[in-house]
Subunit: 506 residues, 2 copies
């Protein structure tokens, strides 16, 4: 051994004070670490994380959690045992978003196929910009997009996976603007008349973020009134368009919503399409939440008219459970618009003298450079359960939502705010102390405080996580997003029970 | 069993034709599937994918690969065995980006700690917008950003992890613009005088993409000449600023590059900082590639002056091997600018009546809504190897780059294009048929064809992947990005040998 060491020292290549012999990472030890971590992930995150008998969260206030996690990064590293303990802690104190009692936002559930695809992706570490670096994932993205485009109802289309529905909405604004006036790409907006886009008051906040980010300005998002159910009122849209024209501004885009964030409402797409056609406006549908209803032959009619859209944002990571993030931005037709609009033709990536068809180097359609292989998890899940399996998830969510709404209506301690069109259930919980009170200012003031208190108690117990918010003059109400995975029927009673339990103290 | 079935039928809850009893996902079968997939990932992607004796890629042209992968998505799902085979195929035909002979782009290498963190993240499926949903990852992001800010040399700072360096550069443009004129967020750019930003001709293409996307326009990116080494010439920057002012335009931002994409050059940050200060311009440094040199006490001087920057983009997924994507956008000072600039105050996420300090709901700093926990993989890696371990990676890459450059200079079949400042090695391979040829038009025309041909042959053999490109009047040359993981010293000779082997046929 000593001889070997001496020999190595003799042959050592020393450059700038660094010995270059041998690898810098001990591959065997590294693989051992991964082997040891896997059972922890399996038990703590995957098994317990989806077990209804476990807590959905293990609440700690920030100051306390900082201490527990010992976040500071130091000069010297730690041993494997310590690191495995850290992984365990990370999982323990993380919210179990795949838990059947996580109703906090518009995603949930653990699909094992998509999860495996995500593990594969991390291990392969691809970047989906060129065919040479990501041959498999480039083709898969194409296959998945093709199928999504079919479900939208277009004969031809193009698209790209993006890091979130918000970014997809930004793509829509940029493509619409490019179509409206290609010169803006080079010349910018300064000196241009005011560009105006339209969306309803119930739209996702990312539409305004897009307007701010893309230099259009939030004031140039004309907000169209919605009806009581949260749907854009077409006549109001017409009025706003006329108004903008009167002001000398240039209308270029309408963003309708299919599945609004709070009420789960669907804008009347067919009517909006007609208006867009008449005025020559780009018709975008933000179907991040509602797009998955397209998978259901029974329910897809709530998106009636979506085939007339020019672009669609649709996030399979929500209702279909593909895992965060899985977000497609889709454009009608095979016009090359997406690439034209975003391309920069970087010569270090997109050389034109490659030995294969460079049409497969799709990265120049994107605003990103390195880009994750988000289509693959959806692809593997789709292969695993088939179109019919995806449809079943959607149908189940619709039915569960219906059932939950009906159960809520049956009980005096709850009040349903509106009949669900999709899978967002909005309701008040009325504690006994308020049940016989006159519905005057005091009642509403007190009711407004119920949801935050109930939520706090539930989180501190780890029994449930559910959203709440005030909305359009209504005081804080609960907002329960229903996905197929969430409401195991056996626990619907318990879920409602939880609200009831919490009230006692109110 | 039959009795049980009958009982279940009797108790079945049927809504809209859907039986709601029981879960929709068979958790046990799903966990079994994950268990079975793990050894495949371990062996095929992790072990073989980093083994120098395996191929770096298994080339198939698109049409052929489509057939092999059977990409079509069908109505009916597939069994586990078939799906596991699919995972195996996906890995087999994917490029092994962690292989020691993958030099194609600016990332590579497999860090086992970061990989485990990524597996944990996928299993936990967080979205980092609020503390209530992502308590652990919100705090980790804060801890990692704090440490990165320290390394930049700022006393105080803010930041956010973004889906790519390109998006980080967009953040920079938007924050700079907001600082310059906050009204633009609401009013947009129309009617404004022309805003102008500056960057060098060697900048990453995303700077222009950002200008296009944000409505500034690519023509309003004034391109500053670089010297022979690829560094921005400060005097030329001054000239361009004066020119823009003379034209009545409004200069607002300079984007310098620390580690250019092709030559790996570092702009003279100190001098650029001085110019920005004199003219009151936002000083952004795109250090996506070069930022990691800040980890090295020995080499950080090549970023001399970066502490004077107003913002920095830095991707630990490149040199430090954190895995795609891990990209921080950093802003100097604790001014709240990042949030002010991007916030939309969505009431369904960022309720102000929560029971904890809502300062920890960091999502409104972002242009995204759901957002991945990219900071965690960097955090766990940092915990594992310490600041000194990260420093070692950087020092090793510098030394390897030096060694490779020297080896290239020793050999008549290669010509080094310039002495590396960092870890990008640019060189020609001169085949024997050209070695004694006069360096006239014919020579250059022929040399231009060498790199694409050699690359094609290497990829078809699966022996190596390396970038090439023409650049600033130089015909196609090889571009080898050196990371600590890549050049096992034992194979440097073999690596160079590979070029030599391929030439024989030329």
């Amino acid at each position: 051994a000593q001889n070997k060491e001496q020999l190595e020292k003799k042959n050592a290549i020393l450059v700038d004070g660094v010995i270059l012999n041998g690898p810098i990472i001990d591959a065997k030890a590294g693989q051992q670490f991964i082997q040891e971590a896997f059972p922890i992930i399996m038990e703590e995150a995957i098994r317990k994380g989806t077990d209804v008998n476990e807590k959905v969260c293990e609440w700690q206030p920030p100051a306390q959690l900082k201490k527990i996690l010992d976040l500071e990064l130091r000069d010297v590293g730690e041993n494997h045992q310590r690191l495995l303990q850290r992984c365990q802690d990370v999982i323990r104190y993380s919210v179990k978003t795949s838990h059947p009692r996580f109703y906090n936002q518009l995603y949930a559930g653990m699909d094992p196929y998509s999860l495996v695809a995500r593990f594969v992706t991390e291990a392969v570490n691809p970047s989906v910009y060129t065919y040479e670096v990501s041959p498999v994932f480039v083709l898969m993205e194409e296959a998945v997009l093709k199928k999504m485009i079919e479900h939208v109802g277009w004969k031809e289309g193009d698209g790209i996976f993006s890091p979130g529905g918000s970014v997809s909405n930004m793509y829509a604004v940029n493509v619409a603007r490019y179509k409206f006036c290609p010169d803006i790409k080079e010349k910018g907006l300064s000196g241009m008349p005011r560009l105006v886009m339209f969306t309803s008051e119930e739209c996702h906040y990312s539409v305004k973020k897009a307007a701010a980010f893309l230099g259009i300005g939030t004031q140039n998002v004309y907000v169209v009134k919605a009806d009581d159910r949260g749907k854009m009122i077409p006549e109001e849209l017409e009025k706003q368009i006329e108004q903008a024209k009167k002001e000398g501004a240039l209308p270029f885009l309408v963003s309708a919503t299919a599945g609004t964030t709070v009420l789960g409402a669907f804008d009347p797409l067919d009517k909006v399409a007609g208006i867009c056609e008449r005025h020559g406006l780009w018709f975008h549908v933000d179907a991040a939440w509602g797009g998955s209803a397209l998978m259901s032959r029974k329910h897809r009619h709530i998106l009636q008219g979506i085939h007339r859209a020019d672009s669609v944002a649709w996030n399979p990571h929500k209702m279909l459970m593909a895992g965060i993030q899985c977000c497609a931005f889709l454009v009608k037709g095979n016009t090359g618009l997406l690439k034209e609009c975003h391309s920069a033709c970087a010569s270090y990536l997109f050389q034109q003298d490659k030995f294969y068809d460079v049409e497969y180097d799709i990265g120049d359609k994107s605003i990103q450079c390195s880009r994750r292989a988000d289509a693959f998890k959806f692809w593997l899940m789709w292969k695993a359960i088939g179109t019919r399996g995806l449809e079943e998830r959607v149908n189940r969510a619709f039915a569960l939502a219906r059932y939950l709404a009906d159960e809520i209506k049956k009980r005096e301690e709850f009040r349903l705010i509106l009949e669900p069109e999709y899978a967002s259930i909005c309701f008040w919980y009325i504690p006994p102390s308020l049940r016989n009170m006159e519905e005057g200012p005091e009642f509403w003031q007190k009711l407004n405080k119920v949801a935050p208190i109930v939520k706090e108690r539930m989180m501190k117990k780890g029994s449930m996580m559910v959203g709440y918010q005030p909305h359009r003059g209504k005081v804080n109400f609960f907002l329960q997003y229903v996905l197929a995975s969430r409401l195991l029927m056996l626990c619907i009673d318990n879920v409602l029970e939880d609200f009831t339990t919490e009230y006692i103290l109110l």
